[in-house]
Amino acid sequence: MKSFLFGLLGVVIFESLLRPYFAIGGACPDLGLILTAYFALTRGAVEGLFFGFVSGFLIDVLHPSLMGWGMLLRLALGYWLGGFKDNLFLENFYSKGIIAALAVLIYELGYHLADTGFSPAATLYILGRYSLLGAVYSMVLAFVLFFFAGRTKKKEPEFTL
């Protein structure tokens, strides 16, 4: 629960303070989704769902016109990503990073479809102009997160007498 709260505090600090410093060419990593992927892939679907729900709420507060929609997408993605928990090698941070990037793309597609009034042309433009780069950026950040999370994880003894 402590890491859950730290993660949420990280999202608040990132969204309010650090976002402008991380932006490259208008694209920014989605820390909320990266952490949702982290909790879903390391702890399970319900943890992913709850983190997606709360972080989605914190981010939607800043974009009130679609409040609720971002939360819905994030909690759904958190729950869906939790299904991969037992199907990935623990040490393989690459696959987790790629899954996080895929989640970012799905989220961006869903969010901008609603944001543009379900206009495919406008959504595709936003996806091509910002979301692809944002997804790659998120993937890189997710690699770093999963790599260090894997290294700091306590190793349990394989055999007990």
Binding site: E47, F57, L58, V61, L62, P64, M67, G68, L72
Partner: protein
């Protein structure tokens, strides 16, 4: 001891129903409710971080301004050094030619404490007075040029007569052609350069400076630039309008030129 777990860990369907239900509820809320809800949460949760970020970016801006001002100060110091050398050389040459020495002034910074409550102010009051060596008829300047002269001084304040006062006259000259004239205000938004004959060379865009001949203002203070220069055939003189270098409606700080030595002003 196991770590505290999320609620409904073993009941995912309940967790999905609750979270999705709450999200849908927020989604269907009226826009104004969403906005006020969002404003309340943002003000509580994000405001401290936003203000921290703003303070940080302001600090960066101040650092940048500081760096720029340091560079400017260095340039100005070098220029000042060169000007001092030129001044000393000028003084030596004037002595050699037998000309009288130029008056020596030091600027005293003064802040505005009162402006005439009229549409077009002609007098202002500043927070420096006789205690600071301010006396009647001392020239008053701004970074951009001449402002006027001291009309009267009490121990702690002084009244400045601006160039737009009908009673204020400045002996002036064209910096380029050296043509002499008298600057005063007659009407309208510009000053007037009078006593310039039809044959004299004054062109639009020329800078008008004080000539030092009037006995109050030292030579070389910028008054303004020539806006119009018409040849009035009905008169012997040209009609020349001068745009003041100083914006009199945006004055905040002025400098009063106090003689560096007692009795060192032009008119004693």
């Amino acid at each position: 001891m196991s770590e505290l777990s999320v609620p409904f860990k073993n009941k995912p369907k309940v967790a999905i129903a609750l979270t999705a239900g709450f999200s849908l509820l927020l989604l269907i809320l009226p826009k104004d409710v969403k906005l006020s809800f969002s404003a309340t949460i943002s003000n509580t949760l994000y405001a401290p971080f936003f203000s921290l970020g703003q303070d940080f970016s302001e600090l960066l801006a101040v650092q940048e301004t500081n760096r720029r001002l340091k560079n400017e100060l260095l340039t100005v110091k070098l220029e000042n050094q060169a000007l001092k050398e030129t001044g000393l050389e000028n003084e030596r040459l004037r002595k050699l030619l037998g000309l009288s020495a130029l008056p020596d002034f030091r600027p005293v910074a003064a802040e505005l404490v009162g402006v005439e409550a009229t549409h077009r102010p002609t007098e202002i009051t500043v927070n420096r007075g006789a205690k600071d060596g301010i006396r009647r008829n001392l020239p008053v300047v701004h970074l951009n040029g001449l402002v006027g002269k001291v009309l009267d001084a009490t121990p702690d304040a002084a009244v400045i007569q601006l160039l737009f006062d009908p009673g204020c006259r400045v002996a002036a000259r064209d910096r380029r052609s050296r043509v002499l004239g008298i600057v005063k205000w007659k009407s309208g938004p510009y000053l007037s350069l009078d006593n310039v004959s039809l044959s004299d060379d004054v062109a639009i865009g020329d800078t008008i400076i004080s000539s030092g001949l009037g006995g109050i203002f030292p030579e070389g203070l910028v008054i303004g630039t020539v806006k119009t220069a018409l040849a009035d055939t009905a008169s012997f003189f040209r009609r020349i309008e001068v745009l003041p270098a100083v914006s009199f409606s945006a004055l905040d700080e002025v400098f009063i030129w106090v003689p560096a030595k007692p009795g060192g002003e032009i008119r004693k």
